[in-house]
Symmetry: C2
Amino acid sequence: MKVHYECFACAANQCQKIVEIGTNDLELRRRGVIEAAKLMAGINGDSIPAVFGSEVFLGVYRVIGNDDPFKEYKELSNRLAEKVVSDIEKEGPNLKTALKLAIIGNVIDFAVGYSPERIEEDVKAMLSEELYVDHSDELFERLGKAKTLLYLADNCGEIYFDRLFIKKLKEAFPYLKIYVAAKDGPIINDATVEDLRKACFGEFAGIISTGTRIVGVPLDRVSDEFREVFEKADVIIAKGQGNFETLSEVKDNRVFYLLKAKCRPIARELGVPQGSMVCLKG
Amino acid sequence: MKVHYECFACAANQCQKIVEIGTNDLELRRRGVIEAAKLMAGINGDSIPAVFGSEVFLGVYRVIGNDDPFKEYKELSNRLAEKVVSDIEKEGPNLKTALKLAIIGNVIDFAVGYSPERIEEDVKAMLSEELYVDHSDELFERLGKAKTLLYLADNCGEIYFDRLFIKKLKEAFPYLKIYVAAKDGPIINDATVEDLRKACFGEFAGIISTGTRIVGVPLDRVSDEFREVFEKADVIIAKGQGNFETLSEVKDNRVFYLLKAKCRPIARELGVPQGSMVCLKG
């Protein structure tokens, strides 16, 4: 997905959030956004929002001297989501419900003072919503014939919902080899391979780094190891907007996007109402 | 006032508003914000928000091919404000109330579907608030001894509140020569000399252009004619944030700022709580 007109102000607002969360020093914050302004000048009509955004954010991290401004936020998200998912798991969700939960996990901002009970209520409300585009039957059919699945994770917190879905996939398709990919290092609230390890994804999947901190899977930046797994995978599940933004240009029919169209550009690109949840084949 | 860290995202958000109001063509909107990104790279620690913002906005105007995106918004503001002020005037406000009304006129967004009745209610509520910094006694004392006053206008709509205040000033200080300055051409919702003419400011003041479309009074950009009036003025009343941003660096004790500190940077710079109304000598 190429940059839409809303992506510029959105990236600028994210930079503001980064400097606010990343340092209390007003002068450093100011230098951070001035750096952001310089880096953003590189946007052109072919820019992919997730990629240029990440480059700008990493530049801001350097200037404010904080390599992981969302560290505490991510830890809190993981802790809360783990608790919530553990409770949901006891209710024995089926495979399709677990897929919807994986999408819902992308939507919740775990760290805004929510109680686990409140999150569970919200999750239940969202579970009653239909997917606006639902290619899950085809996804499951394809997984029945597949040897390997590559699962592209997105955010912290959300990964505990992914873990539940992946467990259910493993039950339904016991011979499927599953790889779960995450970022090589911290970038906004994205999950890193370290987060996957801490969440013990290794018990039912291979953990793999994309080889980059750039959001999504920019195929010109990923490691050789990742590219090999990517190329050999029979099916790819891509969670969230960043993975969609970087892969949608490729038109790869192995990919199934699981996401909620949170912003107008993504909704416009997908041709769905803003806020829709989709399981969409690429 | 030099750029604060919040000014970057604020300018980016204003650019988004400009392209949205300025064109329905998504591709033009996109080119507009890409131009904004390029122009914003010029920000440095010495930039004055009103000045770099204006330069960026004018660049966006050029790219989207709309030299006055806020035209309708401004016309509606002027029409509504004229009606509201005409009703308020019947209640015979005194000079100090008229000064507060001039500050309040800066706060109201006339064009967001307000009814005149609703605006009048809001105005009355704000009139009951005290000024957080109130140097109005000194302002009036100085005007009693002054020969000329330069009044720097700010936004459309607001100018009808200014007109009422200026009428009251003229009653209180009949020998005072008053100049009212506005922008030479359209820039966001700022009043232009044309707006002043339409509002018949000529009946009790000299109308003068700053000689530039840049928000505020950037003294390195104004016309020679304006600079002459500026230099000769005994007292200067500067309305709103843009005039404050461009003049606050000068430390000119002829200047009285009349504004509401709507944003955090202005409030921080003035050392007042955000939202405060002030009549502050420079």
